[in-house]
């Protein structure tokens, strides 16, 4: 599997990470090396093997749909970078 600088730019956009022009070459090379290493997995025979998401094959635990958390809005807003009137502030989205 070869990966191009274009591919890395697309992935970085999906991951919402800006990568500067001078770094993109180095990042592409490192990612290529890692993908070459993980590509050895393609040779493994995994036919008819059920994918394993949890090492204990546990299923999701459920609980009654009851309010158990206290409302700590002010505590959580206090650590936010920008707030107003009890809301998180982000740059204008809709003109």
């Amino acid at each position: 599997m070869t990966i191009t600088q274009d591919d890395i730019e697309k992935i970085a956009e999906l991951a919402r990470i800006r990568i500067s022009g001078e770094e993109i070459g180095e990042v592409t090379q490192r990612i290529t090396e890692i993908l070459q290493m993980v590509d050895t997995l393609q040779a493994a025979d995994t036919s008819n093997i059920e994918p394993m998401a949890n090492p204990l094959d546990a299923t999701q635990q459920l609980r009654a749909d009851e309010v158990t958390e206290l409302n700590r809005r002010d505590d959580f807003l206090a650590i936010a970078p920008a707030v107003e009137d009890g809301l998180f502030l982000v740059p204008r989205v809709i003109e």
Binding site: A15, E33, L41, A44, T46, A53, P55, A80, P91
Partner: protein, 487 residues
């Protein structure tokens, strides 16, 4: 005083030989005096520590003390501590003061233990050397030109340098065991789900597990007694009943069957390290164990499988850092897209970015089946190898790492060679098994770690085996020569 183990301190506190304030102050002074050399701590809150020590002394005086009441501990800076900065080794969380405690922290607080400080770590626990920390690398107390291992390298260094009697760590692919090996201490990664992950900042949710790091198996058992147990607020936490891990420590090893996987003793293992491991195994034989060769036929799949599963889960978990609700936010964002991309460019270091990109790629449309699904299938094969072994042996043993601590900077710019450092530890996380590392001799004056791997929920047996070995040997009692240990 700092040469005492947790169990010795616990007895001394309850017998009134010294107070928790005295013990805590002693460790705080050692940190202030010596940590410049190691950089093991990111945050220390002396006032809060002394206040907690005073409360512990009052509790001890009233006769209401638990085994860890008054014991000062260091916590990896991945566990949320209410009111005390929790950075996860990242610029992204350099300003993050959690409004709540991790369950592990809550449990230690209610046991009456004291928080000495928060320890340095690889950024978001991604690394095997502590060099990816935003706060600079930690130095190995045995050789300050070497890495302490990672990602719980600050915790390991703090315990080895006697700046804390014990510490917490987390292990996603070896992050408790490898630094324990490099720093000559004892560390346990419990079975997946044994210790709550609530408030333990997530790296790879199906692999992450918190555990104790200390100077003996007995101390690890004491800490695990407080850490382990079901947490209704962590839906992946196990409700299997918790045993008293100190109760079974003395059990005989007569008849214990130890499996030695050929894959852990082959090419790639430093010969002097292998020699140490063989000597430690001889000690276990002398205590009544039998050694048998076993095979893990899919072990070659371990590294590629891990480096798909872990980055995939990381890319998902770390999408929460967006500059909106907490943590770093870039200055003057032009629009929402600029806010996200620049916040994440500035907040994350190189290794974290690489893993997010790998994970995003492995989960993206068109590649999901070839990478992520394939890795999840391989993961089942890897686990099955271990389950098959445990049909004929009680535990598996081998080296924790291919060699002793490497030099700072030696692998910093070569991710793939860094990843190979964890070749013996990764499979344990993929399979969800308990694993531990304990001191087993020295190579060039640097510690070597023996790894023990048990079946699911077999951590009690591992602690028992490690304890019996530590009663018969003295590797775990050695402390590094530099520092002021004689004091």
């Amino acid at each position: 005083m700092h040469k005492h183990t947790v169990s010795q301190l616990s007895r001394g506190l309850r017998e009134g030989k010294y107070s928790s304030v005295e013990v805590t102050r002693h460790y705080l002074q050692r940190i202030a005096r010596l940590d410049e050399r190691y950089n093991a701590f990111i945050s220390v809150d002396e006032q809060a520590a002394l206040a907690a020590a005073e409360a512990a002394d009052a509790r001890l005086a009233s006769g209401d003390g638990a085994p860890l009441t008054g014991i000062p501990l260091a916590h990896k800076d991945i566990f949320c501590t209410q009111g005390l900065k929790t950075s996860c080794g990242s610029r992204m969380l350099d300003n993050f003061v959690p409004p709540y405690d991790a369950t592990v922290i809550e449990r230690f607080r209610s046991a009456g233990s004291v928080i000495l400080g928060k320890t340095n770590m690889d950024e978001f626990a991604m690394g095997s050397s502590n060099e990816s920390s935003y706060y600079g690398a930690t130095h190995n107390p045995w050789n300050t030109g070497c890495v302490p291992g990672g990602s719980s390298g600050g915790s390991a260094a703090a315990v080895a340098a006697l700046l804390a009697p014990a510490a917490t760590g987390t292990d996603t692919g070896g992050s408790i065991r490898q630094p324990a090996a490099f720093c000559g201490i004892t560390g346990l990664k419990p079975t997946y789900g044994r210790v709550s992950r609530l408030g333990m900042i997530a790296f790879a949710s199906s692999l992450d597990q918190g555990g104790p790091m200390a100077r003996s198996a007995e101390d690890c058992a004491l800490l695990l007694n407080t850490m382990a147990g079901h947490d209704p607020r962590d839906s992946t936490s196990s409700d299997v009943p918790v045993e008293d891990y100190t109760a079974g420590l003395e059990k005989s090893l007569e008849g214990l069957r130890i499996g030695l996987p050929d894959a852990y003793f082959g090419e790639g293992l430093d010969s002097a390290t292998g020699e140490c491991i063989r000597l430690a195994l001889k000690e276990l034989e002398a205590l009544g164990a039998t050694l048998t060769a076993v095979s893990l036929p899919h072990s070659a799949l371990t590294i590629p499988t891990y480096y798909i599963v872990a980055p995939a889960e990381a890319s998902t978990n770390l999408s929460r850092y967006d500059g909106v609700r907490y943590g770093h936010r870039c200055a003057d964002p032009a629009d929402l897209h600029d806010l996200y991309t620049r916040t994440r460019e500035e907040g994350f270091g190189d290794e974290v970015k690489r893993r997010i990109l790998i994970g995003t790629y492995a989960l993206s449309a068109g590649y999901y089946d070839a990478y992520y699904k394939k890795a999840q299938q391989a993961r089942r094969l890897i686990r099955q190898d271990f389950l098959d072994c445990f049909q004929s042996v009680d535990i598996i043993a081998g080296p924790t790492t291919p060699g002793p601590a490497f030099a700072l900077g030696a692998k910093d710019n070569d991710p793939v060679s860094m990843y190979l450092e964890d070749v013996y530890t990764l499979a344990v996380n993929l399979a969800g098994l308990p694993g531990m590392s304990l001191p087993a001799g020295f190579v060039q004056d640097k510690p070597v770690g023996l790894q023990l791997i048990g079946p699911h929920f077999g951590e009690g047996r591992l602690l028992n085996i490690a304890h019996r070995l530590q009663q018969a040997t003295d590797w775990h009692t050695r402390t590094p020569a530099d520092g002021e240990n004689a004091a």
